[in-house]
């Protein structure tokens, strides 16, 4: 039976984008320059938009009357299934950009593959997301090069971000029973098959940016099983407070 696995899978896809979109929205009004403030808000909007569609489909798949808002606002941190990479606070601009680059390259590959899903709804969402992710990759890649191959300060900050974030990239490509089930049913994609292409593109951009990959042999994991860092709970408490204080409110 693949329905529970497909629900779990859609929640993973949706939560990655919801959490990262929310983190990115924290830049709104704080961007380093006006154009960048607008750009980050635009990318955040795309990600939250994708999350809305994915969580809506997840709710329909589950069949327990939970819509996208119920899933976003009324689940606790332990029920969130995003990768750890996306939940850290936004950090400095270099941290945000490097994370955005790592995730965007992954997301583009993932959504390209998901266009072949047996589920027409998911394939359609993926086709839409591919167009958006291309802009996200281009935007973040250009900034990675600008910062890495920039001033001593911007280089140091970009390198520090790569060093801090690298150990959280592995989780994006880890597959468990959920992925095995949805792959067998032709509904989803095995993320481990995306790693070679991801690494090639990331290496190419980091090289142009004069940045190096740290020697890290252990990749952190936990988010896909609901084991999160302390940061996610704080983020959710802020994100969910209005919906939980006024359940059923509409505006």
């Amino acid at each position: 039976m693949t329905a529970p696995a497909f629900f779990d899978y859609l929640v993973r896809l949706g939560d990655d984008r919801l959490v990262l979109g929310h983190r990115l929205s924290e830049w709104c009004g704080h961007g380093p320059i006006l154009e960048e403030d607008i750009a980050l808000a635009n990318v955040a909007l795309d990600l939250v938009g994708e999350a809305t569609l994915l969580l809506k489909l997840a709710g329909e798949t589950e069949g327990k009357d939970r819509d996208q808002d119920a899933l976003a606002y009324f689940r606790d941190a332990t029920d969130y299934r995003n990768a750890l990479l996306v939940e850290f606070p936004k950090g400095d601009f270099a941290f945000t950009i490097v994370r955005q680059f790592f995730f965007s390259v992954f997301s583009l590959l993932q959504m390209q593959a998901l266009q072949q899903s047996n589920n027409a709804e998911l394939a359609g969402i993926a086709a839409k997301a591919v167009k958006e992710a291309k802009y996200h990759v281009r935007h973040s890649a250009q900034w990675v090069v600008t910062l890495g191959d920039g001033t001593p300060d911007s280089h140091a900050r970009a390198q520090r971000a790569v060093d801090e974030l690298w150990r959280y990239t592995g989780e994006l490509f880890m597959a468990d029973d959920v992925e095995a089930d949805v792959v067998a049913a032709g509904l989803g994609v095995d993320p481990s098959t995306l790693e070679t292409a991801w690494r090639a593109q990331v290496d190419d951009i980091l090289r142009r940016a004069t940045l190096t990959v740290p020697a890290v042999n252990y990749m952190q994991r936990g988010g896909r099983a609901g084991k999160h860092t302390e940061h996610l709970g704080h983020m959710l408490s802020e994100m969910q407070i209005v919906a939980r204080s006024h359940p059923g409110a509409s505006w």
Binding site: I38, L45, D46, L47, T52, K128, V130, K131, I205
Partner: protein, 167 residues
Amino acid sequence: MVKRALPSRDELFHLLDAVMDPEVPVLSVVELGIIRDAEATDDGVTITITPTYSGCPAMREIEAEVRRALEGQGLGAVEIRTVYSPAWTTDWMGAGAREKLEAYGIAPPQRHSSDELVPLLRRAAAIRCPYCKSMKTEQKSVFGTTACKSIWVCNDCRQPFEEFKAI
């Protein structure tokens, strides 16, 4: 009692051509290419819409406007279906839409480029300034005031302007 003839797809599109996009008010939702289908039956009307971007905040407003335009026509209940596939592309914009955009001060989208991803774009090819028609223009950001636009500046007339992004 004479039964009223149901409007054709073309007639429904004609009615919807009066509904303007709230963010680009010189284009109707039909010219924008987001109305994919329209069908009237004895039970009511079904309109199929494909949003421009997943998170387009204007969608609710557009749906409300579409309802308003049709509900006064005595066609029964209005149902709006949202479909995401095939994904919207600027190539679906109507013929007159490009001229209207330029006259409004928004550079029209270029023809959709290949699907190949170029992560490090060379400087974007210059587009024509919608104000002074100069080609000495420069892209300032690929993200503009809405998800569908990018920011440019004209180095001749010094006018900042927006371009409708080709997707």
